[in-house]
């Protein structure tokens, strides 16, 4: 059995392909519906960061980016969308936490993890970089300094 799975993975990984976001509608903090496909319809770079209020590395990453986010936006017009994967237990902490920390990101709720599941994300934090509606980079996990690497990718790809 394991051989078959390995074989399957090998076939799949031998192809390189660019993926798009699934067509989903998520709610923002004020309860407005946000259509993901319309959201990323521009030539700018979009960063999707999957996080949760209980995930310390996620918060460290979003805090670290928050400190330099203004500079990033001035230079590249990049937009960061923070996808809160908190389920009902901690969902209510999302809004006060985002405001309490003064994050300037667009934050969307994915409380039954439909988007996370569709993109086959298993561990948090998980970051996607999108250009022209295509995912050009994915990364899982956060170590201090990863935000600098992320910014290099954004700069390389921004016009």
């Amino acid at each position: 059995m394991n051989k078959i799975i390995t074989y399957g993975l090998l076939i799949i990984s031998s192809f390189s392909f660019a993926q798009e976001l699934p067509s989903l509608v998520l709610k923002d903090l004020d309860g407005n519906d946000i259509n993901l496909n319309t959201l990323v319809e521009s030539e700018n770079i979009f960063v999707f960061s999957f996080w949760a209020t209980w995930c310390v590395p996620c918060i460290n990453e979003l805090d670290a980016i928050s400190e330099v986010y203004e500079d990033w936006q001035d230079e590249t017009k990049v937009k960061l969308i923070a996808i809160a994967t908190d389920d009902t237990r901690t969902k209510k902490r999302v809004r006060p936490m985002v405001n309490g920390k003064g994050w300037e990101y667009l934050v969307l709720y994915d409380d039954n993890q439909d988007l996370k599941r569709a993109l086959n994300i298993t561990t948090l934090p998980h970051t996607l970089v999108l250009k022209n509606q295509k995912i050009i980079q994915r990364r899982t996990g956060y170590n201090p300094g990863v935000e600098d690497e992320l910014y290099e990718i954004i700069k390389e790809n921004s016009n």
């Binding site: 799975i5 392909f17 067509s23 209510k92 039954n112 439909d114 298993t122 990364r139």
Partner: protein
């Protein structure tokens, strides 16, 4: 097995046709495997659930493939393998290799239809939630059909019908439900106000094998909800009722103890930049709801219909997770001295950002988070002899749990940042776990965490933890050291140790050491260590795991 081979061949075939243009494909792979070894200190390896002592190597593998084609259709399949057995503490229903879930969905801007396995949530999940948590071994996807329709961009309607996934089988009991959400602010063209209302119904039919049952096979649950938002202020309320059904205790369905259930959830908050305040109140009475009555309260969360997480702060550190509260939604009349019908309580969150360039804020500002939670049993008249009770609507019974915590995050300079964490907990083991001899315990826990950036992607992180308690049994100390060699490679070691005289944990090091390599969306981790017996919690749901020692490898990939 044959099914899967066929499936892989099909994928290969379809790849050959499409060549490189396989835009709509998304693949995720996760593998968790452990070699359990005999531990001189805590005993030899033994798997009581599978009655096995020989298969030291266990692996759980998940391969999920989603393929979007003809723009509106998505086929999804998840293959799972538990060979030779699942990791310790998973349900024995997860056995062998097979198709875990599969579905076909059709989606346009206003229709979303699925046949096969699907995950759905109505409102907060208090009435219906299907979800997957591989770490806890939960997958209660419904197998059947679902249709959602969005009307005029203001109304969402959903209907579901199906049976729960249980291991690789499906439940005998059937679930059918309907959900509606109305965006009133869009109807009235309000700009600053958001007002949504929702109404749901969930029915469960589970056959009864009794001659003269005093309850019906079908149990009906209804939920009504209002969500309100005005500028920085928000509020929501949900009320749920469940029709009369037999009380189930330790797999015994009682034909003479028939009760309805209900739940109230209220939340309100105010937040603006640099400030957030949030308060939640919840009362649950007899809200245990399963697709198979007999499985009520099973530790693997199989057949569970609704989601009633413990509403407390989910702490992040090892010593803050020794005494964890689990929601008490079920009726329990096991002993005259221990009568429970539900829970009542709430929590308060406060977030504050002290501005930069102020006395307490310093150069970079200081971030604070405060949480307080209190939970108690329902107050009422409990009649053990006649198996009956009458509860008071807003009465607080005996105290189950409380938790007060303060977190301060401080950046000192571009290289150093620290987190200070303090928690005070009260845990009533007798009431929460039904453990008669146990006394309530009060603990105080302090944690200091510091991260130091060394440049070139290198950094170190250190955690020091201490738990004091009013019991001779628990006096813990713990620490973590983490070294990030680059953004891709990191190593860690941690240990917790109980200086108290608790018979099951005293004088034992629960240590773990490991490393991980990350490249893009691929992560490989290797870890060796001893796991403490206790609750493993994800998203407010906790499962008890016994002590085990072993070498664990994890691989996650996403394409």
């Amino acid at each position: 097995m044959r099914k899967i081979t066929l499936f892989i061949v099909l994928i290969h075939f379809s790849f050959s046709i499409h060549g490189q243009t396989i835009d709509g494909l998304s693949v995720g792979f996760e593998s968790n495997s452990t070699w359990y070894n005999d531990d001189k200190k805590t005993g030899d390896f033994a798997d009581e659930a599978n009655k096995d002592q020989d298969e030291h190597f266990r692996a759980n593998n998940y391969l999920k493939i989603d393929y979007n084609f003809l723009s509106k259709l998505t086929a999804s399949v998840q293959i799972e393998s538990y060979e030779p057995f699942a990791l310790l503490n998973y349900s024995t229903n997860f056995e062998g290799t097979n198709l875990g879930t599969y579905s076909l969905s059709y989606k346009t801007s206003n229709i979303d239809a699925t046949i096969g396995h699907f995950y759905e949530q109505f409102g907060s999940g208090l009435i219906l939630r299907n979800w997957e948590d591989r770490q806890l071994g939960i997958n209660n996807a419904l197998f059947g059909g679902k249709v959602s329709y969005r009307l005029l961009d203001v109304v969402d309607l959903t209907a579901v019908y199906g049976n729960h996934r249980v291991g690789f089988e499906t439940s005998d009991g059937t679930i059918f439900g309907f959900n509606s959400e109305f965006e009133l602010d869009s109807v009235f063209k309000w700009d600053e106000i958001a007002l949504n209302i929702g109404f749901s119904y969930v029915g469960r039919e589970d056959k009864i094998d009794l001659e003269n049952p005093n309850y019906k096979p079908t149990t009906n649950a209804f939920s009504g909800r209002v969500d309100f938002n005005y500028r920085n202020f928000y509020s929501s309320v949900e009320y749920v009722t469940k029709s009369e059904d037999a009380i189930v205790q330790v797999n015994q369905v009682s034909n003479d103890f028939i009760k309805p259930g209900n739940g109230i959830l209220f939340n309100t908050g105010y937040s603006k930049r640099g400030f957030g305040l949030d308060a939640t109140f919840r009362r649950l009475e007899n809200m245990s709801f399963y697709s198979n009555r007999k499985k009520s309260g099973n530790i693997f969360f199989e057949n569970i219909i609704n989601y009633t997480p413990g509403l407390t702060k989910q702490h992040d550190y090892l010593l803050t997770n020794i005494f964890v509260y689990q929601a008490q939604s079920a009726v329990s009349f096991l002993d005259p001295a221990l009568l429970k019908a539900g829970e009542i309580g709430g929590q308060l969150d406060f977030f504050y950002n002290i501005k930069k360039e102020t006395l307490l804020g310093g150069k970079y500002g200081t971030k604070m988070a405060f949480n307080a939670a209190y939970w108690a049993g329902l107050k009422g008249a409990f009649d053990y002899a006649n198996q009956d009770y009458e509860t008071e609507m807003f009465g607080f019974g005996s105290k189950y749990f409380s938790d007060v915590s303060l977190e301060i995050r401080k950046k000192w300079n571009p290289k150093w940042r620290s987190i200070f964490y303090y928690v005070n907990q009260y845990y009533n083991k007798k009431e929460i776990e039904g453990n008669f001899g146990a006394k309530p315990i009060v603990t105080n826990i302090g944690v200091i965490e510091s991260t130091h950036k060394l440049g070139n992607g290198k950094s170190i992180r250190i955690e020091a933890q201490k738990l004091w308690s009013d019991s001779e049994k628990h006096d813990w100390i713990g620490g973590t050291f983490e070294f990030n060699l680059s953004s891709k490679i990191s190593f860690y070691i941690n240990d917790i140790y109980n200086n108290g005289d608790d018979s099951s944990t005293a004088k034992t090091h629960y240590y773990n050491a490991g490393g991980s390599y990350t490249k893009g969306a691929t992560r490989v981790g290797l870890n060796y260590g001893r796991q403490r017996a206790g609750l493993v919690c994800v998203g407010g749901v906790c499962r008890f795991v016994p002590e085990a020692t072993g070498l664990t490898a994890t691989v996650t990939m996403a394409f």
